[in-house]
Point group: C2
Chain length 584, copies 2
């Protein structure tokens, strides 16, 4: 790949484009378009934005990603979690329904786009790795619950405000008496139908003899069926007159590219949240893209993905849209429907543009309860209680970070939820590495292996203390090493040699080097020689650049066995021994 193809992946796949690929891409695009229309409207509603904003966010962003993105099949657009975060962030700076609210959502998309592009240009994609999986998984589960709860107001047909579970629950309870029965019937009906479609429909269709792929497509299209049916019902029975809230008239026509006037204050306020939304969106999107790419042995370039998603968000911002990213369900549909290149995304954009131009009058009678029902069914699949149990069984530290993320997201909000999860997982990781596993080891009889004296029947030599440390040595754990060795030595007056076994030490930083010097110095004062064994090549290379090896009272041994067999015959005399040997 040449330089242009690296930065503009469209050039690479565009060169090989042909009629057969075109057919595959067109078919996939049609299916994704049908799926994306209700999703666009629903996620705009979730973000508390007008419905057309959802459509706008599903046109230009798809084209921008097709030009700059590296996944062949990722379908970008509005997604549930990012829409929830948008509502939460924008709701803090402007009142819902005002022009300021829309402006803030647009600025959030632009900022998010700029941040992603900059991260890509400066190759900062690794920063997203500090979102650990239990934190993301917990966050997505909590977000799913929060989104589902937030949509209940549309099912009940009552106004409820609130960003946290207690606020939403309180609002719903106080408004329960005002629920609109017809809205409730539509909402519960659609939820029931979609659950049925998701769990049973495909099996039923297969049994009728329909081929598997077609029945799959029908199943995936069930939300559009629900949309069409409820539009017809609402129109036929004039449900608006019975208090059912409908989507209402959506402006026809495409968005005029441009940027609304905004203040620098707004940018300063939204910069932090934009970074968080970018990180969450990027992590989710790359994980989808990577999974799908592997199936065809294709390659995702994470730093270029940042540029692709950044371009998509900038495109969303300049076309009056809101933050977007790669969606999981949508991308899987695109992949299964046979999309071969990002051109499928461009064709999808054309499809949505046509819908925006010609189909919007048809959507006026769509009940909001139908959209809420599609959201609820979609997001409940994000809720993964099994993952919580699995993490609990595997690692208590990871579980603590996950549980904190979930609880704080539900009861305090999405931003504090993610942030506290990230900080706690970093703190726990640092804590773990600050108290590395260390074992006093002895020789397993009849072998050359050394094992923990507390776990195995081993032979030790009282004048020789062999310690294995199972962690790289760095500032957070180097003093712990000092303390442990000091304690072990002060407890055993017979010791004449201390051998530190380093097969798991991948790095020794300046603090740890100083600790080793201290240990050497203190042991020397106590008449004990200090040796190292099984030091790795790169670590040895750096030690050689210092005067540590000259000051060392003992030797560097290639293996612990060599250390112990050699020291048994050489009582320590207090003087510095022969020059330290070189380890490989």
């Amino acid at each position: 790949m040449n330089r242009i193809e690296t930065f503009l992946p469209i050039v690479a796949w565009g060169k090989a484009y042909n009629r057969s690929v075109l057919t595959s891409d067109l078919v996939a695009a049609m299916i994704v378009t049908i799926m994306l229309i209700p999703q666009s409207l629903a996620y705009a509603m979730l973000a508390e934005l007008p419905p057309e904003v959802g459509l706008y966010a599903s046109i230009l962003p798809l084209v921008a990603y097709a030009i700059f993105g590296t996944s062949r099949v990722l379908a970008v657009g509005p997604v549930a979690v990012v829409s929830l975060m948008t509502a939460s962030v924008v709701g803090q700076v402007a009142a819902q329904g005002t022009a300021d609210y829309l402006t803030a959502a647009i600025v959030l998309a632009l900022l998010s786009g700029v941040i992603l592009v900059l991260m890509g240009v400066f190759r900062l994609g690794f920063l997203a790795n500090f979102l650990s999986r239990p934190v993301i998984s917990g966050f997505i589960t909590a977000s799913g619950l929060l989104i589902a709860a937030s949509q209940l107001k549309h099912i009940f047909g009552v106004p409820v405000k609130g960003d946290t579970l207690p606020e939403i629950a309180e609002g719903l309870l106080s408004q329960a008496g005002n629920a609109n029965p017809i809205t409730l019937v539509i909402g519960i009906g659609v939820v029931a139908f979609l659950f049925f479609a998701r769990t049973r429909l495909k099996g039923l269709l297969n049994r009728t003899g329909l081929n598997s792929r077609l029945s799959d497509i029908i199943t995936k299209a069930s939300p559009i069926l629900a949309v069409a049916a409820t539009i017809l019902i609402a129109g036929a029975f004039d449900l608006a007159d019975h208090g059912v809230v409908l989507v209402g008239s959506i402006p026809r026509g495409l968005p005029v590219p441009g940027i609304p006037a905004f203040s620098l204050d707004l940018v300063a306020t939204l910069a932090g949240p934009a970074l968080l939304i970018s990180a969450i969106g990027f992590v989710e999107s790359v994980s989808v893209a990577q999974t799908l790419a592997s199936k065809r042995r294709q390659r995702i370039v994470p730093d270029q993905e940042l540029i692709g998603l950044g371009a998509a968000n900038i495109a969303s911002g300049i076309s009056s849209g809101f933050p977007v990213t790669g969606g999981f369900a949508r991308s899987v549909v695109n992949f299964d429907a046979g999309a071969e290149t990002p051109a499928a995304g461009i064709f999808t954009a054309v499809g949505i543009a046509i819908a925006t131009l010609f189909l919007t009058p048809l959507l006026a009678n769509l009940p909001q309860a139908t959209l809420a029902a599609t959201i609820i069914v979609a997001v409940l699949s994000l809720v993964d209680f099994k993952a919580i149990g699995a993490v609990f069984g595997y690692s208590k530290a990871d579980f603590a970070a996950m549980a904190t993320t979930i609880l704080i997201t539900l009861f305090w909000g999405v931003e504090p939820g993610v942030l506290s999860g990230v900080l706690l997982s970093l703190a726990l990781h640092l804590y773990r590495t600050s108290r590395p596993h260390m074992a006093v080891v002895g020789l397993v009889p009849g072998t050359e292996h050394f094992r923990n004296i507390n776990r195995h029947k081993v032979v030790t030599d009282p004048p020789i203390l062999s310690i294995r440390v199972d962690e790289s040595l760095y500032f957070a754990n180097s003093r712990y090493l000092e303390d442990r060795i000091a304690a072990l030595v002060s407890d055993s007056p017979d010791i004449r040699h201390v051998v530190l076994m380093c097969p798991a030490v991948n790095d020794i930083d300046a603090s740890a080097l100083e600790s080793l010097e201290e240990i050497n110095h203190r042991l020397k004062d106590a008449g004990i020689a200090f040796h190292l064994s099984e030091v790795k090549g790169p670590v040895m290379d750096r030690l050689k650049k210092t005067d540590f090896l000259e000051k060392l009272t003992g030797k560097i041994f290639l293996s612990q066995y060599e250390a112990v067999t050699s020291l048994r015959t050489v009582p320590y005399t207090g003087a510095v021994m022969a020059p330290a040997m070189m380890a490989s």
Copy 2:
């Protein structure tokens, strides 16, 4: 040791106390008292506090540490760096010379004491480990320079305010014309004498036939000689009338135990700085204590040290003192003078108490320039440019943290200096572990060793990709592993087996486990089997608790050699192989 002796070390050493130990302790206490009198006055001046506060901080704190501390020879009291930090912190909440200023200093000592005790009780001593050595070393060097600069005003005899190098330099330059010539002569004279004493005097005395220990004591007592001489000169020539600033009358008598009235606001403001002062003081003190204890094969218990130092600070606070910690020079003198138990500290406290009661009138004529000179000479020994060079040569990341600490301390202040150093060193550590060293390895012909294919002449088998990862796998680096393996596989269409060599993997967290599952899943989709080799026992134990080993398309091999020899004869068929083997 029983429980009482663990929490009250005085009980342990008190039981074995006898006349011979008493004699040793008394001699050491006398020498330390002589050294501590000018130091107490000087560090109180450095903290911008009245001189008697320095004396108060050298009485009860020593007794408290003797009861609760675990070092036999640590000499606590006011020290340079902590005094500078006190001045910087307290100067931000109260005007120097006011009652509020003194109250803030006392509250700082109390808070610092409570924080240290709580850290000790909850065994949080490890938190201090996050101060890496390059950060501490850089901070101490910068503090030394800053302290020396701040004392120049007393040498010139001019009023200068400022907490940073530029502020101090500007103040000194604008006031240079007002310098008092007599003060300047005294200041420069004492600095010159003390430098001479420090570098030459001992050698000269030794050559006159004096025994080494006595000449050492005389050298260490040189500051008290300078104090005595300048008091006599100032009195004889009425230097106060010539504009030389003297210490002035110091109230006679011991402090009345008690706590001044203070607001909760003050506590909230000082809590953060108190934590920082506690951490710096603790790290310095423990390192001194550990070094001296090792010489006699004694033992320091870091968590109990926190309690000892905390008790000392609380004692300082309730006796109108300011924050204290273990001093390096002073403890070495105590050790060299033969102190055997903390009783020497109690005797020193008695010495300082007697001085406070009876000697203070003699100190009224002491020029401040003399004290400033003793501070300058003492702190310049803290400045360690050689350490900066050594760190630069050993590790650029450590150097970056060190340089940042030094520059921000000098040009912005002590608190931002330490904090930015700590945060940068954590960030750099996390960055390093987030991109672990990974190598594609091959077999060294004629051996069973596998080495990096880029560094060694090795044999590889095109269908087998062997990758060694040199870091524990956790959330910050697990996606990097996914990306690297995906990239390597997409570049080599011949690959049928991927073997991940894990001898340096000390831990696999939940994120990394999920990454391994992803890798396994994606490789399976691409028709490639995924194997692990040389997995450590504790890591294997945790993997066995999950269903990863059942899902794994390949095996777990005891050694990489076994993996490659076994896979060469078994082409991967796409099906899951025999149940994964157990590694030890």
